[in-house]
């Protein structure tokens, strides 16, 4: 028996706008409105508005909150100032990635963990299992809606709806209690597209008003709603990883190029021994970016051949900005250098390609490797 799909507070607006809805991580989500490519281009050149309310929000509150989360994740939470956010994996003792998440320091002893929708229940159970009595774990996922306004015109559009100078918020910082279109929200300078932009954490009941106000305020700028399809092609071009595709509990942060989020020198944390060992012993495989010849797409799970060894594709697409067949995949250590030739088996044919440096796309540039 499959459970009924969950709906975000914006579900009615999506269907009314003619969005194509698909099941995603137990939610009925918009995969596209006008079309993935059109939405992708809008975010790169103007702005797009995403409903990502399916993401989970878990509050960790109490005097021991900082020390507790520091022990759960690989990045260094102790460096977080109040109103600052941090990206980090959360690992098993074997250093497998349970999830990748954002940690927001709302107050001295009050953290908000923003987690992937597909993992919210598992994360919550894991966190509760490891919690000490002096922290309180509260699942706020159902009460909080999340809107992502992304693109070069995001700042101008958002500023029209608030008196707070949101341009002063630096990348990976946030402001709580910002009044936007008459509603009080957290405004965070974060995103998953490779563009400038903001994420707005709002009470669920405020979400429809905010959604409509933002689309209205951005209409003249060419702001359009964008779905999960464009979110995926945008994040791939930007070299951002997707948990469940590019990493999971069978891969470590070091293997997928997230070494910068692993702070082996901080106090002990779950997975530290396995990560230290892997760092000493070396990696048996690495996640790299590649570009293929032609336009056929390397899909998740397709075999990679490189240097006589096997690998596999974790993400792939033909993307509008880069205009090439691009992908991410695991390859043996001998194949990680940009320029190395590889091939991906697509429907029985070995399609030649090249390892490239990530990201495929960087703001203000148009090229792939």
């Amino acid at each position: 028996m499959s459970e009924a799909l969950k709906r975000t507070p914006l579900h009615r607006l999506h269907t009314a706008a003619g969005a194509r809805m698909v099941p995603f991580a137990g939610w009925d989500m918009p995969v596209q409105y006008a079309g993935i490519i059109q939405e992708h281009v809008a975010v790169r050149t103007r702005a797009g508005l995403f409903d990502v309310s399916h993401m989970g929000e878990i509050r960790v509150i109490g005097p021991a909150a900082m020390a507790f989360v520091q022990r759960l994740v690989t990045n260094d939470v102790s460096r977080l100032a109040v109103t600052q956010a941090l990206y980090t994996p959360m690992c098993t003792p074997d250093a497998g990635v349970i999830d990748d998440l954002l940690v927001y320091r709302l107050a001295e002893a009050d953290l908000m963990l923003v987690v992937n929708a597909a993992n919210t229940a598992e994360d919550l159970a894991w966190i509760r299992d490891h919690a000490s009595p002096d922290v309180r774990i509260v699942d706020r996922s159902d009460e909080i809606a999340l809107l992502a306004l992304q693109g070069p015109r995001a700042l101008g559009i958002l500023q029209r709806l608030t008196a707070t100078p949101v341009g002063d918020i630096r990348y990976y910082w946030f402001r709580p209690d910002v009044e936007v279109a008459g509603r009080t929200v957290i405004v965070s300078r974060t995103g998953y597209t490779g563009e400038d932009g903001f994420e707005l954490y709002a009470p669920a009941e405020a979400a429809p008003h905010l959604w409509e106000a933002l689309l209205e305020a951005g209409r003249a700028d060419g702001l359009i709603p964008a779905g999960l399809g464009a979110r995926d092609t945008l994040r791939l071009e930007a070299g951002l990883l997707l948990h469940g595709a590019d990493m999971d509990k069978t891969t470590t942060p070091l293997e997928v190029g997230l070494g910068w989020t692993v702070k082996l020198d901080k106090d002990t944390f779950v997975g530290v021994d396995a990560l230290r060992r892997q760092k000493t012993d070396g990696l048996a495989r690495r996640l790299v970016g590649f570009v293929l010849e032609g336009r056929s797409i390397a899909r998740h799970g397709f075999p990679i051949r490189c240097d006589g060894a096997d690998g596999r594709v974790t993400s792939g697409s033909f993307t509008p900005t880069v205009e090439k067949s691009i992908g991410l995949g695991f390859v043996p250590p001998a194949c990680v250098a940009p320029g190395r030739p590889l091939s991906v088996e697509i429907r029985g044919r070995a399609v030649p390609g090249t390892v490239v440096k990530l990201p495929f796309y960087r703001r203000g540039q148009k090229s792939a490797g």
Binding site: R20, I36, G229, T233, G294, R295, S296, I297, R347
Partner: protein, 128 residues
Amino acid sequence: MYPKELRYSKEHEWAKLEGSRVRVGITKFAADRLSDIVYVELPSVGAEIKFMEPFGVVESVKAVSDLYAPVSGKVVETNAGLADKPEVLNTDPYDAAWMLVVEPSNPAELEQLLDANAYAAHVGEGQS
């Protein structure tokens, strides 16, 4: 939406009899459903295709789909333009985005395909 002069497969290909040859493509319904088509893989000229067996693939950003032959025969022409501009499948599926011209080995197979009304009903759009 579905031109009367074409015959349609339940797999969403169209076939158009042009003298002794058959032109083949995919329907507006298929193109809309795939959305954002970025790649088309067609057989070479001279290849034999078989009725209702896959002859190629079409890829959109999100998915890959097989193409099924609405008639058996020898491929005598392919639309090379689709290699660089597969997006015309989304904008002009019945004209600029034709895929193959086939010399049919059994033109009677076309009788097994749907007419425009039956196809519209098949895709749940009723009378067009």
